[in-house]
């Protein structure tokens, strides 16, 4: 069944208007960037409003707005509640953000931390894990852009994906992290208002009592608090979310960019404000059966309900909300991954004597290159979004304990961290292929935890925290 509630012309007009505004914004903010610190870390002095909004916006991806209703439609109440528990990642990262800023005030990336804290071998293992995840997320976002445009308007997947990628690369290139953070603020407001309007109209028009009674009679599993598949999803999602946030340079670069004393407040606030969004975005899916809507592809249940309740305007609302959610994550990931490539690979391995002016230039080239590579990988549309994301869970969950223990425990040694990263990832991948996606992050995290605990018992690294302040170079 073709479901294209928006005309191609409307979709293109929205894309052109928003694209032009974001790119102008990027250029305007980029004029203030005078140094590498300005471009990579927005001058290291970001205040609470921008800090809180950028953390929220980055964590609201296309998944939150499309997959939260999908999971509620498939797994019921636990689907939306389980998804909302991904906020734990932001909340638990809050004290770590404070610690990161205190330990390495001159640092640029999470790679800097791993290199100085654990040594070269662990650093390389970490970079591999981090790049696999970053590229997986970038490609999933690029693909989501193409799929969204194709589904809502009928515009070709390749054209939609190319336009969305080009817009995000454009303003990130022009304005660096400053543009990313400022656009994130506007995008956060758009996303929240859009999600709220759709949720409120659903609550008022359909009525929760009617939704409850209908599902209790026809789909009681959706209201079942002991639904086994939903419980497994919940635990896997918690570990996946923790791994994603704890290790990714997206969150580390923000911790380093925020003004001293702001990181902890910003991550706490964004976590608590993010927590209810999957519930508001997700509960509308419970009304789909009442409205007689049974989508062919369950990730389109949110847009279908919105379009049914608000007419074509509802579909346009969903389009703008999901486009903003996509852009706010894509730009952040482009900027943070470019920092990692520039700082850790170019400056750490290829040209160790590069000055900041050279690194600034390289950083821009890397953003362009990453955009191009993402575009190339998105072209064949080799897998589904969900499969790609769940696959990366095996990688990221292995980093949770090495990061936490590295920040707070002097004893933790690099040899055991390397083993934890490698064996944790391998176990997660074995679990993914032999049992299912819902155990990948769980297996990876457990194996990594056991190795780290053995490491703490048998070896004492007695790390000197001062080494992080001076940011030693690799030998």
């Amino acid at each position: 069944m073709d479901y294209n509630p928006i005309s191609i012309t409307t979709a293109l007009v929205i894309l052109v208007v928003f694209g032009a505004v974001w790119i102008f914004f990027g250029w305007w903010l980029g004029r203030k960037n005078k140094s590498l610190d300005d471009f990579m870390l927005a001058g290291r002095n970001v205040g609470l409003a921008f800090a809180g909004a950028t953390a929220m916006a980055t964590w609201i991806t296309s998944n939150t707005t499309l997959v939260a209703p999908q999971l509620t439609y498939e797994l019921g109440v636990w689907g939306m509640v389980g998804y909302s528990l991904a906020a734990l990642g932001l909340i638990l990262f809050a004290p770590m953000a404070k610690r990161i800023k205190e330990l390495m005030p001159e640092g640029y990336t999470c790679g800097d931390f791993i290199r100085v804290r654990y040594g070269k071998t662990a650093w390389i293992a970490f970079l591999v894990v981090s790049f696999c995840y970053a590229m997986g997320w970038l490609v999933s976002l690029g693909m989501a852009g193409g799929v969204l445009l194709n589904t809502l308007s009928g515009l070709s997947y390749h054209l939609g994906m190319t336009v969305i990628l080009a817009i995000c690369v454009g303003y990130t290139l022009l304005g660096g992290l400053r543009a990313v953070i400022a656009t994130d603020y506007v995008q956060t407001i758009i996303i929240i208002v859009g999600v709220l309007i759709i949720g409120f109209v659903c609550y008022q028009t359909v009525g929760l009592e009617k939704v409850y009674d209908y599902n209790k009679e026809h789909h009681p599993e959706l209201l079942n608090l002991l639904f086994p598949a939903a419980m497994m999803f919940l635990f896997n999602n918690i570990f996946f979310g923790l791994g994603e946030i704890f290790h990714s340079n997206v969150w580390w670069s923000r911790a380093l960019a925020f003004r001293p004393g702001i990181g902890r407040k910003a991550y706490f606030m964004s976590g608590f404000l993010w927590l209810p969004i999957p519930i508001v975005a997700g509960f509308i899916a419970l009304s789909a059966p009442v409205l007689g809507l049974y989508p062919d592809s369950s990730d389109m249940v949110g847009p279908m309900v919105a379009a049914n309740l608000l007419g074509d305007i509802g579909a346009i609302f969903v389009f703008i909300v999901v486009f903003s959610a996509l852009a706010s994550s894509l730009d952040s990931l482009l900027a943070a991954t470019s920092d990692l490539v520039t700082r850790d690979i170019y400056n750490g391995l290829i040209n160790k004597k590069a000055d900041k002016k050279t690194l600034h230039r390289i950083s821009k080239l890397v953003i362009l290159g990453l955009g191009f590579v993402t575009w190339l990988l998105c072209l064949p549309k080799i897998t589904t979004l969900g499969a790609l994301l769940n696959f990366t869970g095996a990688f990221v969950a292995s980093t949770i304990w090495p990061i936490v223990l590295g920040l707070y425990q002097r004893r933790m040694s690099g040899d055991f961290v390397t083993a934890a990263l490698v064996l944790g990832t391998v176990s997660g991948l074995i679990g993914y292929h032999t049992i299912g996606f819902y155990v990948a992050a769980l297996f990876s995290c457990i194996v990594s935890f056991v190795i780290c605990m053995i490491g703490l018992l048998v070896k004492n690294d007695n790390f000197d925290w001062q080494r992080l302040k001076s940011m030693e170079k690799t030998q």
């Binding site: 203030k32 400053r178 407001i189 949720g199 508001v280």
Partner: protein
Amino acid sequence: MIISLETLEALVLAAMAVTCLSPVILIILLIKDWLKEELW
């Protein structure tokens, strides 16, 4: 074990209330930062 209507309603309304507050909080913080010249 089926969730009760009252619990589901409380969950959804609480989520909507907090979500309503989010943009208000963010706008107040933006104005405060702007007045103190602490945006960046």
